[in-house]
Symmetry: D2
Subunit: 342 residues, 4 copies
């Protein structure tokens, strides 16, 4: 007997994360894409918007309509912008669908923080309690039973995976964590702006939103949860002239003496059952090209005196967005967690 | 006695051509920039728009106002978009100013052609007769006495310089000229569009406006003038993931037998007094990086049977726009033609 | 009953084509990689050479040894340099293995041509008769029964697919075909050279080997076979600052009148059973990013007067090398031709 | 009376720094290039090596020969690799020439440190005492009277300028300084290596030599000099897919409370007479493209709690190498310090 495939919808299919979701799900053995939609009117085919899908997925990309999407699909990915997502999520949940939301709307537990960083009132705060922060390496069990998963931001994914094993084991001071993160341009989305034009980004490097990026509170929240007390990181994001990839160089202060080799053991132990984290050998550091198009997070470590330097690499559109979303779906649906991702 | 410097204005200073005009003119020994303006309201400093000029040119960039610009400057560069330029040029000429217009508005002599390719009626057709097509290698003398110079398009500059010596000498058939041109992204301007985002242009190559680019009639017009009969080229532009540079690969049919060495002599002879064309040795072909930030056009040639392949390289923002505009000013003002450009 | 997987070897695994072969074969449902080797001594793990495979393929990459490879594998991919490949191929064939050779060594039927373009004597000319040129869109049946497939060059793949339907149908003159091809940097291989350094290739565009590239005789040979008489193309390759992709802009002369729409129909008819060619709609032209990481060749066409302009896009490492090699294996082994490639 | 121009030699003219030195010196009003040389035999023209100089500088690039260079030139720039430079410098000094050495050979005062980081014995330690570290913003006066200037490394230039004003004023702890530096690929030089190939660097980001880069002791030495006690920084360099530019993000701990605005004042005060440092307004951070092709160092600052984040941007080949070398020459020769650089 052949198991029927899970019908999935991608809401907000025309951004970079939506495109990559489609690419991954087309290869996934257990699902079929039954609906793609976006906020604009029209019914252009998705393969006209992303010609890479010509002949592979020629569905019309319709205007988001919750009832008709609910009819077409049983599992919903939302890849909409922040603030927009929360206007649709409650409808899908009410209809009994499971949801992975790639926006920031259900990541922050504290609505005051949300409103401070995103500038609008949260319209469905009642869902924040049950929404699970979808970082499988930390919350695998909770994700498995969740109805609504808030898929982590790209920067938080790369940062948290490089900090949590040391923080959780009390090997570092929770104060004074510095994250120097560098991202490719797809991280900024697909909305036109002079600052994102090829000729502005190419042959240029800059820091931006220095210590005031909206991903900071998300990092602080998750680290505080692990630490048991309030953590505030210093966070400097940079825009790098490449399409994809985030490299995060993290500086922490050891609370007890430890050499590089022991620090590596801490990470290896923490991630020993995690198929998508690769802790590298001593003196080897990750490069973004080695995780491109994969769900891996590669991690390299160096201890120097009381400082520990951790470097993590992810593909911002995969582990930082779409493949992590599929990983979450795999857990929520009881699929092999590697399905479609290996 | 110190000669007073020529006061120049840059109208439309906030695009890529405007930016490079400033860069060149700041180094020019005989001029000073006394006015920069743009179509938007406001009086932001030009050095806030292009921080590269911080501390070097901190003039406010004001809304275009012909009378006040005329008061401030004696020579006018217009780096405005097509269709906009012609609403300002007549005013500057009436005020007795000399003008180099970098837009397409005064390049085509035939208003019907202009209207066909640019989609609007020409509003000052009476100026077309006296406007000089500013390709110094062909029209040096006319430029020297012009009041209004229509600065050539970037593609036409690279194409014409690779064809005219052969066409002028009747060495090639005027039919069947094929131009396969490749440009960096600044050629598309600085107005935001999804198709110009870094992540769309990077790691991508495409042909666009295949045989229907608005620079075609300009090439046809100039070649027809040289040939004495109507010339229609085949023209395919491509967008290359780099900021600057145009490489034009041109395929022509010889009307009489000729080897590569003789073809090179034709070019060397034609350009012998032209300081900004470099004809390369046999088997050497130009690369865009060797003309970057210069007013040079480098040319390489190969004959194979009855075909001649000519490859030309220019910097689209320099020889294809701003440095050629300054070259034209040098000729119009009787400066050393190399001033500010060597 | 579970079918046993085909054991495959990759000989010459450390170049770009070898790396992509591994990537594709790791996802292929019907094969397992049982041997990777290279010309250098040592037994570094392949995952140390290409860290992207850490934890996914940790086989040692040993020095090429035909007997031990024959013991380990039943199907052999050779991704060695030209001239080196032919020293190993006869051994594998003698041992009864099927071979796809990605080098140029068995592509040219005429040993004089081979020696002219590659500068060495051919050491196994007796195999040239039975070697099949592995362009599935043209030779599908012959490939299915071949023991030795010569995998086409990247430029010939992109060129031939844009010419053959018109040439085969006698719609064009066989003289005067011009191919203006543009390739990303991986096409030049992974051997260090100043001219391939990042800072030399980036922000640069150049033509190279103008009308004397070693892929020309391969194109001429295949077109001559289709045409029935000798064809000699004009061929100009260019190096584009991107990792992957070839865009070929091909100019041909129609032998009878035909509009764009009819020309498109010719292509659609010719490729109607070919799953990896996509003929685009009128006025749509291919972009390399839409075929990246795929086995597709996308084709766009425009007729203007007696000229027809065809633009094709392939991924030089996929359809131009590794995925085409896997496609050939699928045909040789009777697998679904899409296996591992969709 | 026309002053005779200073005759300068460039020894080691075929690397990126040598190329840029030529570019700058060709525009310098007070010098002429009378000799270019390299370590290889031959006498290819420099314009064949760097075709950008065709028709502008066609001198033969000869094998380094101290006596004949001394005959040809009065001022010597050495742009040779580390370890090679010190075999030539003593000869030039003995001949009474002034020297700017762009290598690391005369930067470290402690020969033990030199031997530890560069792996060879220093062969002219007697010159280290009089060699002046050529950072004009710190050592302007000493440079003016020096015979031998050790031109700073690219990373140290960008780092020191972002730290010294705060350290010198005792506003920060001298412990715990973290420098997260990101460089374009020209910083790695022009010697072929797989890791520097276009296809390896493009679309990739990595940290390298994490806390063990040979520029660290140079930074430590200069900061220790300013501080009066031993300073050891944490230093992580990164390779960014762009040709030029270094962005340094520096994290320091304030020793007394201070807001961003006061910190900016410290920098503005320190650099008030320095024409090539631009301290940006609050909330503005530098981008490498705004210093490209200039001798500027742009600096942005943010204070958050006890942390101060300083971001500096330089062109690694200009302020980080060649234009700083020319700046040093200007000071040594009593030229206007801006000559050739504005």
């Amino acid at each position: 007997m052949i198991k029927e495939k899970l019908k999935v919808a991608i809401v907000g299919a025309t951004g970079y994360a939506g495109c990559e979701l489609i690419r991954i799900l087309l290869r996934h053995p257990d699902v079929c894409i039954s609906s793609v939609s976006r906020r604009l009117e029209g019914s252009e085919k998705i393969s006209d918007i992303f010609p890479v899908f010509r002949g592979r997925l020629d569905l019309p990309c319709e205007n988001v309509d919750v009832p008709s999407i609910c009819k077409a699909a049983d599992f919903i990915f939302l890849a909409l912008p922040h603030k927009v997502s929360m206007s649709f999520v409650p409808g899908f949940l009410k209809a009994g669908k499971k949801v992975v939301d790639l926006s920031a709307d259900y990541r922050l537990k504290d609505t005051a923080e949300y409103e401070k960083w995103y500038g609008v009132k949260h319209t469905s705060p009642e869902l924040l309690g049950s929404a699970v922060y979808g970082l499988p390496e930390v919350n695998k069990q909770k994700i498995a039973s969740a109805k609504l998963v808030a898929n982590p931001g790209c920067y938080p994914t790369g940062s948290l995976l490089g900090i949590i094993p040391l923080l959780d084991g009390k090997f570092i001071d929770s104060g004074g964590i510095i994250i120097d993160a560098k991202s490719g341009a797809t991280g900024a989305g697909r909305t036109p702006a002079v600052s994102l034009l090829f000729a502005e980004v190419n042959e240029n490097l800059k820091a931006y939103k220095v210590n005031r990026h909206q991903h900071m509170p998300e990092i602080d929240q998750e680290l505080s949860g692990v630490s048991g007390s309030a953590v505030e990181v210093v966070f400097t994001p940079h825009l790098v002239p490449m399409n994809r990839g985030i490299l995060s160089t993290i500086y922490m202060t050891l609370s007890k003496n430890m050499d590089t080799s022991s620090a590596l053991e801490v990470f290896k132990g923490y991630y020993k059952d995690m198929p998508f984290v690769r802790v590298l050998a001593e003196n080897i550091f990750p490069e973004t090209k080695d995780v491109l198009g994969t769900n891996f997070c590669d991690i390299g470590i160096k201890v120097t005196g009381r400082r520990v330097i951790v470097v993590t690499a992810i593909d911002n559109l995969y582990k930082g967005a779409s493949s992590q979303a599929v990983h979450n779906m795999n857990l929520m649906e009881g699929f092999d967690e590697r399905a479609g991702l290996a």
